[in-house]
């Protein structure tokens, strides 16, 4: 069985429109984030998050009225499957007093004003403001460092800054677009989401390398042809692999998103978006970038070719 037999699409012909579309998405994402801000999970913002399991189906309104006096503006929502009788309560922002036992007043308030439906099990996450700020700094630092090291590795392996830069720009694009989607769909930036983003940094560059590898191979025995033709051919030659590999990974992470439960939902979402965007960016961001870079230096391709 084959899905594409010897494809010959002019993939790079319309590249400028796709680049423009990407820029629009990223810019609108940045504007949206600047206006509304990203929603950080409790591990970054600091605060308290409780997941309570009640004996019978809980009334969110009753819980709200019990907790409201204690913590105005608390987020209260059912958590997971409705049959599990679970409720998530989040009090974000600066913690008053000590981290220790920060969740206890909430439990006490529930015990007095919602006594008929006792809490039978609770999970809690309490994060002091220092730890949260430190994590935020670390997350950004590590993502940037990851990009820099990959840039350096590809530069070294392909003997040309253009390839490293193209891969890094594509990955940066993927991270930004994924962040935009996370913001649009009101997902929180949790530790798991950061893990997903860092994984994407690794995964998305995979795709780019497979194509660049093919370009490197083709350049060896087709020295006379323009780089654009070689890039387009390489994209076509690897297209089936791109569709199958990314398609299967996409479906695997889709399973994670759909069946992975509450904890992995945001992670799954980031991966689903990231895999799609990572595939797209190889064709429409990394490859046009290489052509554009070479075009800047000269109209032809000797530099990139001479390097290989």
């Amino acid at each position: 069985m084959e899905i594409l037999k010897n494809p010959h699409f002019d993939l790079l012909g319309k590249a400028r429109y796709f680049v423009a579309a990407s820029l629009i998405v990223i810019l609108s994402g940045l504007a949206y984030i600047a206006k509304d801000g990203l929603r950080y999970g409790v591990e970054f913002s600091g605060g308290i998050q409780l997941i309570l399991k009640f004996a019978s189906a809980p009334h969110v309104d009753r819980i709200r009225s019990a907790v409201e006096k204690l913590a105005p503006g608390a987020v209260i929502q059912t958590y997971g499957d409705a049959s599990k009788n679970q409720v998530l309560i989040r009090l974000s922002g600066e913690l008053k007093g000590e981290v220790e036992n920060a969740g206890k007043p909430v439990l006490d308030a529930l015990k007095t004003s919602y006594a008929e439906n006792p809490v039978i099990e609770s999970s809690s996450e309490v994060v002091g403001p220092i730890v949260g700020a430190e994590l935020r700094r670390k997350a950004i630092q590590l993502t940037v460092l990851g990009l820099v090291f990959q840039f350096a590795y590809i530069w070294f392996r392909f003997k040309g800054a253009v390839w490293g830069a193209a891969a890094a720009v594509a990955v940066f694009h993927d991270v930004m677009v994924t962040l935009t989607f996370l913001a649009f769909f009101h997902y929180e930036i949790t530790l798991n989401v950061i893990a997903a983003l860092l994984t994407l940094v690794g995964y998305s560059v995979n795709d780019t390398i497979v194509v660049f590898d093919r370009v490197r191979e083709n350049l060896r025995h087709r020295r006379k042809e323009p780089l654009r033709t070689i890039l387009n051919d390489s994209l076509n030659q690897t297209l089936t692999r791109t569709l199958i590999s990314n398609g299967t990974t996409f479906l695997a992470v889709l399973g994670l998103f759909l069946f992975g439960g509450e904890v992995l939902r945001a992670f799954g979402f980031a991966m689903v978006v990231g895999v799609l965007v990572g595939t797209y960016s190889t064709v429409y961001i990394a490859s046009p970038f290489v052509i554009w870079w070479q075009g800047l230096k000269e109209r032809r391709v000797p530099a990139a070719r001479a390097a290989l």
């Binding site: 997941i51 599990k84 590590l142 993502t143 460092l145 560059v205 799954g268």
Partner: protein, 548 residues
């Protein structure tokens, strides 16, 4: 299973020997070595993970993270200033004692801040002697200055400050280890955390009584028994006799009075008769009125001191001070030897916890909670279930797809994927790495990357076949041409995973661990094992078509 095979090494050896024999009779010569090599490695992984899940309370070979089995994760900050202050206080006491002994008059000796103290108003004739004392006692790690006539400022050097901080954190970790042992937690983690050098990570998997665990960890448990000079319901009246000032060798400690909520102030001697360090053992008990108390035994050195001091002070009161407040202040009835009792208004549980922390020793400094994560056991079980469902859905889909799309070669890929997961789990069991919920996601992702390697190879083989190459040459070319690509893609993915690993402890580290091991296992399984399978199945026959 016969008992001899219970030993994993023996089991591995026997299975490998069986495999080698089978290979010798059933395989062509050029395949034998690889078959035994690859096979014995996979057998080692299988032996390592067996049994993966615990039965009858026995732990399984795969360690489950806190998020899957429930428990507590705490990040504590050691208030190292406590230890610095204590060091300075000791130093000030030393200076006072020495000056008094040598008959040097001075106006004041006191702490300036957490790392320095001053000695002021030394009588002009004895400045040289005071200088000698300071230089004698504060030679290493201290910086002595004389900003004015008869005035000294003594400051710790940065080196000493760092040493004290490091020692404090180490001592705190040791104490916490002893305390956690008494809680009876299996596989606890207590370690330094972060880059500041003053944070401690405590992970207690499977703990159900969260409140108790937190209390036992947090209590500083500084115990001191000091002689009482005077008591009074208010601080002012207590200090009337001394003109409103606390004398140098005494201090004021607060305690609970007869009526609850009514504080009582005690003027006590600064020097303790005995401290927590003099204890040999402590246990919870009840007094003659059946009220809970804590009985302690002293070590020989402490017993000597206790005997001497109690004998000398019969009729006086002795304040039992716990973490800076008086628990009780009984009157010394007669000379006491090596055993004593701490009474107070304890509940049975409080007495039990107090005896535990006294046994484990005091913390050198107080602790602050910076982060706390507790996971209920049933939430953990839900997470495992959804993780398994998601994995199963992913694996099932990929298997069906590979079989439909690549037919018999797809079967090869599925075998390689199974080997990949087996190696991943084996390595995790062997290294004691922890499986977390994000770790399960990492396994799914590993399977995705594994499929990618297979697809790369298979598509290349198809391409070679399209270009008219013979089956065997197409396979050889297919594998060899994608080798560089596979190396590069895995290297970049490993770079990303390495940074992920830097992202601290907990679930994310678990994810990074599975990703790193998975990527390495993938090269072995999807490249080398898969290639071997092709060569084995094709055999020496001259094949015309390939099921791909």
């Amino acid at each position: 299973m016969p008992p001899a095979l219970q030993n994993p090494v023996t089991l591995w050896f026997v299975l490998t020997a069986a495999l080698a024999a089978a290979c010798y009779f059933g395989l062509r010569q050029e395949l034998r070595l690889r078959a035994v090599l690859y096979g014995s490695f996979l057998i080692a992984c299988l032996v390592a993970i067996w049994p993966p899940y615990g039965k009858d309370g026995q732990p399984g070979k795969i360690h489950l993270g806190l998020d899957l089995r429930g428990g507590i994760h705490l990040v504590l900050q050691v208030v190292t200033d406590d230890a610095l202050n204590a060091t300075i206080d000791d130093a000030v006491q030393t200076v006072r004692d020495q000056a008094t002994r040598k008959g040097i008059a001075f106006a004041a000796a006191q702490r300036v801040d957490t790392t320095s103290f001053s000695l002021e108003g030394v009588e002009p004739a004895r400045v040289k002697d005071a200088q000698a004392i300071l230089h004698d006692f504060f030679r290493d790690g201290w910086d002595i200055r004389e900003p004015g006539e008869g005035r000294f400022l003594v400051k710790m050097t940065d080196v000493l400050v760092r040493q004290i901080k490091e020692r404090t954190v180490k001592e705190a970790i040791k104490t916490l280890e002893r305390r956690v042992n008494q809680l009876g937690v299996a596989e606890p983690v207590i370690a330094e955390y972060g880059n500041h050098g003053d944070q401690i990570l405590v992970q207690l998997p499977g703990v159900t009584d969260v409140e108790q665990a937190k209390r036992v960890i947090k209590t500083t448990a500084q115990l001191a028994l000091k002689l009482v000079e005077d008591t009074s319901p208010s601080q002012e009246s207590l200090l009337q006799a001394t003109g409103g000032k606390v004398p140098d060798d005494k201090e004021v400690v607060q305690g609970q009075g007869e009526t609850p909520g009514q504080p009582v102030y005690y003027l006590v001697k600064k020097e303790a008769v005995i401290t927590g360090r003099d204890l040999k053992n402590a246990r919870a008990g009840v007094d003659q009125n059946n009220a809970p108390d804590v009985q302690f035994t002293l070590n020989p050195q402490g017993a000597d001191k206790f005997k001497r001091e109690t004998g000398r002070n019969v009729g006086k009161r002795l304040a039992i001070i716990l973490d800076g407040s008086v628990a009780s202040a009984p009157t010394i009835q007669s000379q006491i030897g090596s055993e004593g009792v701490i009474t107070g208004r304890f509940t049975t549980q409080e007495a039990d916890e107090l005896s535990k922390v006294l046994r484990a020793g005091a913390l050198p400094a107080s602790l602050k909670y910076q982060q706390e994560l507790t996971v209920g056991a049933s939430l953990g079980k839900d997470s495992i279930r959804s993780g398994i469902i998601a994995s199963a859905a992913g694996v099932l889909f990929l298997t069906v797809f590979m079989l439909v799309y690549y037919r018999m070669s797809g079967l090869n890929a599925v075998v390689a994927l199974a080997a990949n997961v087996l190696i991943l789990l084996g390595a995790m069991a062997y290294t004691g790495a922890t499986l977390t919920l994000p770790g399960i996601a990492g396994i799914i992702l590993t399977i995705g990357v594994g499929v990618d390697t297979n697809v790369l190879v298979f598509e290349r083989i198809r391409e070679e076949l399209r270009n008219g190459r013979a089956v065997r040459a197409a396979i050889t070319n297919g594998f060899e041409r994608v080798w560089i690509t596979i190396l590069d893609t895995h290297a970049t993915a490993l770079i990303a995973a390495a940074f992920l690993f830097q992202f601290g402890t907990g679930p994310i580290k678990g994810f990074a661990v599975t990703l790193v091991i998975g990527l390495i296992a993938n090269i072995f399984a999807s490249y080398f094992v898969s290639r071997f399978l092709f060569e084995w199945v094709l055999g020496k026959r001259q094949v015309q078509t390939l099921s791909i």
